[in-house]
């Protein structure tokens, strides 16, 4: 018989206790009172060995209980019996989840993580299936169960080692919930039979505070599954990170003068003095004067860094922090997501009678979305700077032939034109736009004005008003509408009618785009339209229908976030420049570019100006304190965290084998049972002895 923890055998020395007590007890026990000791002399009982020990049976039982308990704690096992009991091996299924998020780039962390994976590989006794999954934002199966099963048992470790060689921590954020879900799904898979009952998820990670765990709230954990958290820590505690503040976080003043960044210092940090500076992509030298920032550990601070005057600076670098993975934020030159729209009208008319006046107030430059109205003179003979593709053109005055051609060609390519045909000349020019000769309209003024009736609320332009609460157009009067015969316009669709009989709003498809005809004016003298509550929702619907609204509202992106590709004209070749400098073909309009694997500036080259996106390391990665285990515990994850002692000591294979053998035989249970049995017998015997001695004493004591 061999013992796993022989030091516990020292505990059997405690048998000296009962022996001593049995010897000593007699001398110090009961006292018999007597009236006077005058006639007595001291006559201590004789001390020969036989007479001293009183209850031999009790002594033997007590000694046996202590010895058996000591033997049981020493974890005995029989060496020879190991092979004779192959059936007792409990099959285990293990999924090792290896964290490859950006925070693993801290010094020493990745090497430790790999060492922990190798440790778990060595301890593979009883493992039936093993899978290795790396995760940051998304989990990736590196070694599936099938590879593990198909490999001969002696080459399995080498197989995993080989796959580990190519791995390195990336730039993604830690989504622990997704990874655990994926691991759980893997554990439940059937690989040539039902999954074993004993299943284990081993998470080798830095267990950082910034890990995402939200979706674990609804996770059901099946029986037999346990999660082992194997935390690895950095050589140097503490981490500071920098985060770009934009949009709602930054005030307009700050964003116009500089860039606001938040500097976060972790609670276990030792450093509290940092400096931030601009840096350009081409050189590692700093641009401009660095700014010193003091951040107490556990706190964060927001500072505004002025933009440098010199061009080329596209990132802010945080100095003074050892862990460099989150010390750089990339900043695009300017937010480029304002929507540019064309307004064709009378160049000189910017009064409150012109539609532009109302358009600029309904969709302002600083609104959401920010809209820039580019005004083109209606009588322009050359396009000049207006050769861009305009998704929406509002024609408020009869355009010149050059402008008409420009509009027609763009509508053919998919643009939308809204034409106010409120004068006979405007109707005539509309005919030229639509290619209809002699299109005429007659003014039909009705006393009291006309109303829009028979509105097609199913059409996208009127869909926002479909709800009965908003569908009341009866208070909006139109005084000077033009009557255009819809039959003369091929493909024209009447979206609304006037109660005077003529069409109220027409949509004419043309090429890949369309022309929306409004046969009445937008100035307050012509209609109440621009002053009604319907105006702004209608414009938004128009923007939406024309595809002019940007789909990328977020101006800061994290690694792994998709880049929304703006829509483009058919057949235009676009290329996306990655931070590495490589150019890849950009996805087609409407699709997203998802392979944002490294932080940096992504540029889209194609028609129009170059678009830029800054992709940064997720701010959550900067929160590196290893506190997520408490959160997981609170979320009901069946945890079995490795103790620090367990992490530090790596047992030898011989010890491993002994542990396995002992774990299978579990002889300690028998020793414990025997101890309990003996204790029961001892209790009975002691009770009997106590009753007997009580009777004896009663005969002696008064």
């Amino acid at each position: 018989m061999t013992f796993l923890t022989p030091l516990f055998l020292l505990g059997t020395l405690a048998v000296a206790g009962p022996i001593l007590f049995h010897l000593v007890r007699q001398a110090t026990r009961d006292r018999v009172p007597f009236s006077s000791l005058e006639f007595l002399r001291a006559a201590p009982p004789r001390l020969d060995r036989r007479s001293r020990v009183e209850h031999w049976l009790l002594l033997l039982l007590r000694c046996a209980a202590i010895v058996l308990l000591g033997l049981g704690f020493a974890r005995p096992f029989l060496k020879g019996v190991t092979d004779a009991l192959p059936g007792t091996v409990e099959a285990r299924r293990v999924v090792v989840l290896l964290d490859t998020s950006a925070s693993l780039q801290r010094p020493g962390v990745w090497d430790r993580a790999l060492e922990r994976v190798r440790h778990h590989l060595r301890n593979q006794a009883g493992i039936q299936d093993l899978a290795l999954v790396t995760f940051d934002r998304t989990p990736r199966v590196v070694v599936p169960f099938t590879d593990w099963r198909n490999a001969p048992p002696d080459t399995r470790t080498a197989l995993v080692e080989q796959r580990l060689v190519g791995l390195a921590p990336g730039w993604g954020d830690t989504r622990l919930d997704t990874a655990l879900q994926a691991g759980l799904d893997l554990l439940g898979e059937s690989v040539g039979g039902p999954p074993p009952v004993d299943r284990e998820l081993i998470v080798v990670s830095d267990l950082q505070e910034g890990s995402r765990t939200e979706s674990l709230q609804t996770t059901e954990w099946p029986k037999g599954v346990r999660v082992v958290l194997d935390g690895v820590q950095s050589d140097r505690p503490g981490n500071a990170g920098i985060e770009l503040l934009t949009g709602d976080d930054a005030t307009p003043e700050a964003s116009s003068n500089g860039v606001r960044v938040r500097i976060v210092n972790s609670p276990d940090a030792t450093a509290d003095r940092f400096e931030i500076a601009w840096q350009s992509g081409t050189s590692t030298t700093r641009v401009g004067t660095p700014m010193a920032v003091q951040v107490t550990p556990g706190q964060s601070r927001v500072v505004s860094l002025p933009r440098p005057t010199a061009p080329g600076a596209d990132r802010i670098v945080l100095g003074g922090d050892a862990a460099g993975f989150d010390n750089t934020v990339f900043v695009t030159a300017r937010p480029t997501n304002a929507v540019a729209l064309r307004y064709v009208g009378v160049a000189t008319d910017r009064t409150s009678r012109a539609p532009l006046y109302f358009l600029e107030r309904a969709l302002p430059e600083r609104g959401t979305p920010p809209v820039v109205w580019m005004q083109q003179s209606a009588d322009a003979t050359a396009l000049g700077g207006f050769q861009t593709f305009w998704k929406l053109t509002v024609v408020a005055a009869p355009p010149s032939p050059a402008v008409t051609d420009s509009i027609r060609s763009q509508v053919d390519q998919g643009a939308t034109a809204l034409v106010l045909a409120n004068t006979p000349e405007a109707v005539n020019r509309l005919g030229a736009l639509l290619g209809i000769a002699d299109l005429t309209g007659t003014a039909e003024a009705q006393p009291g004005g006309s109303l829009l009736v028979d509105i097609d609320f199913r059409h996208p332009l009127f869909a926002p008003f479909a709800d009965p609460r908003f569908s009341d157009f009866s208070r909006m009067r139109i005084w000077k509408p033009m009557r255009i015969d819809p039959a003369r316009i091929p493909g024209a669709k009447v979206l609304a009618r006037l109660d005077s009989g003529g069409p109220g709003l027409l949509e004419v498809p043309m090429g890949r785009g369309r022309v929306v005809i409004v046969p009445w004016g937008w100035s307050p003298a012509d209609s109440q339209w621009v002053l009604s509550t319907k105006f702004v929702p209608f414009l938004m619907a128009l923007l939406d229908a024309s595809g002019a609204l940007p789909s990328d509202r977020a101006s800061t992106l994290a690694v792994g976030d998709p880049l929304p590709m703006p829509s483009s004209a058919e057949g235009s070749a676009r290329e996306l420049e990655l931070p590495s400098g490589n150019r890849v073909p950009a996805p087609t309009s409407g699709a997203n570019f998802t392979a944002t694997t490294t932080p940096g500036i992504h540029r889209l080259f194609g028609e129009g100006p170059v678009r830029e996106w800054a992709v940064n390391v997720a701010p959550s990665e900067s929160r590196t304190a290893a506190t997520v285990s408490g959160v997981l515990d609170a979320l009901g994850v069946p945890l079995r965290e490795r103790s620090a002692a367990e992490v530090s000591q790596t047992p030898t294979p011989a010890v491993q084998a002994a542990v396995e053998t002992e774990g299978r035989q579990k002889l300690w249970r028998w020793f414990l049972a025997a101890t309990l049995l003996i204790l029961v017998v001892e209790t009975l015997a002691a009770g009997w002895a106590a009753r007997r001695s009580k009777r004896t004493r009663e005969g002696q004591t008064p």
């Binding site: 006292r31 009236s35 006639f39 001291a42 006559a43 201590p44 004896t696």
Partner: protein
């Protein structure tokens, strides 16, 4: 000594008697049982007794002149009588802690108190004056002999006090009695006499010489007499707290010898001084004890004075 004499009176065993909680009722039940058991008291009492005539001398009280003798013989004679007083009895009760020992369900102190109360009641019923002096290593309570019903109650209360003290001094209470009691009477001492006897001889002799009739009751537990312990244990002196490891088998004979020598010494002392000494195991019924005492009085040991006794 005297407990071999068995009266025909119905007896209450001490075990049953000690179950009565109040000492007064205990004493009352013993005394009444005793009277009920007696068909006829051998000590019916004395009347005032004429002793002699003497010739009248001027100055004598004329009330004592026997006028009949004057009528017959024309002589003036004075009738002279035996001086008549009630018996004055002082009970000396040992209340030291050694009396708190008892192996039979009641202690020697219980037994001694009951004995004293019984005697007090018995004497009180006969019109005698009874007093009490309790002691351990010093005098605890002293109630001078009186014949009053409330006095009997005070005696009972004093007897009910628990035993105390860390030693027994037999001499100083006796010496104190010699100082306090000038009139002749009876002194009954109840103790276990487990104390040195050296000075006792002289003090008792002085008392007897002063005309006191002394009776000793030596109350002992049966275990003290027989020492029938079986197993070796630690013995603790209830009075001093001293402990001794003792194997009873080894020391029994020696103990019995020394105990007997002590008893012999006490008896020898009593015989020499002509006083009665009764050894009383706590298992002996009290009625028989009373009877023994009365019988012993009638046949009694050599007493210094035979005129007064427990009963008249």
């Amino acid at each position: 000594m005297t407990h071999d004499a068995r009266p025909s009176a119905s007896r209450i065993s001490p075990e049953a008697l000690m179950k009565i909680r109040h000492l007064e009722w205990r004493a009352r039940s013993v005394v009444e049982g005793f009277w009920a058991g007696l068909h006829r008291s051998p000590y019916h009492g004395f009347s005032a007794e004429f002793t002699e005539y003497r010739a009248y001398t001027p100055g004598d009280d004329l009330r004592h002149v026997d006028w009949r003798v004057f009528g017959r013989s024309d002589r003036h004679v004075i009738r002279k009588f035996e001086e008549e007083t009630n018996l004055r009895c002082l009970l000396l009760v040992d209340q030291s802690r050694s009396m708190a020992y008892g192996s039979t369900g009641h202690t020697k102190a219980d037994y001694a108190a009951t004995l004293a109360a019984t005697l007090a009641r018995f004497l009180h019923q006969q019109g005698d004056a009874v007093g009490l002096l309790s002691f351990d290593q010093r005098v605890r309570d002293y109630l001078p002999p009186r014949h009053r019903a409330s006095h009997l109650r005070q005696i009972t209360l004093a007897l009910e006090k628990p035993a105390g003290g860390t030693a027994t001094d037999l001499v100083s209470p006796l010496r104190r009695v010699g100082e306090l009691v000038r009139q002749r009477g009876r002194v009954v001492m109840i103790s276990d006499f487990l104390a040195p006897l050296e000075a006792l001889d002289r003090v008792l002799g002085q008392l007897v010489a002063a005309g006191q009739e002394v009776t000793l009751f030596r109350v002992l537990d049966p275990r003290e007499i027989a020492f029938d312990f079986k197993t070796a244990t630690l013995f603790e002196d209830v009075e001093t707290g001293r402990t001794l490891h003792i194997d009873p088998d080894a020391v029994r004979q020696e103990y019995l010898d020394r105990f007997r020598a002590h008893a012999e010494a006490l008896n020898g002392l009593a015989r020499r001084l002509g006083i009665a000494c009764h050894t009383v195991p706590t298992t002996q019924p009290l009625e028989t004890l009373l009877l023994d005492v009365l019988r012993a009085r009638s046949s009694g040991p050599a007493c210094h004075r035979s005129a007064s006794a427990i009963g008249r």
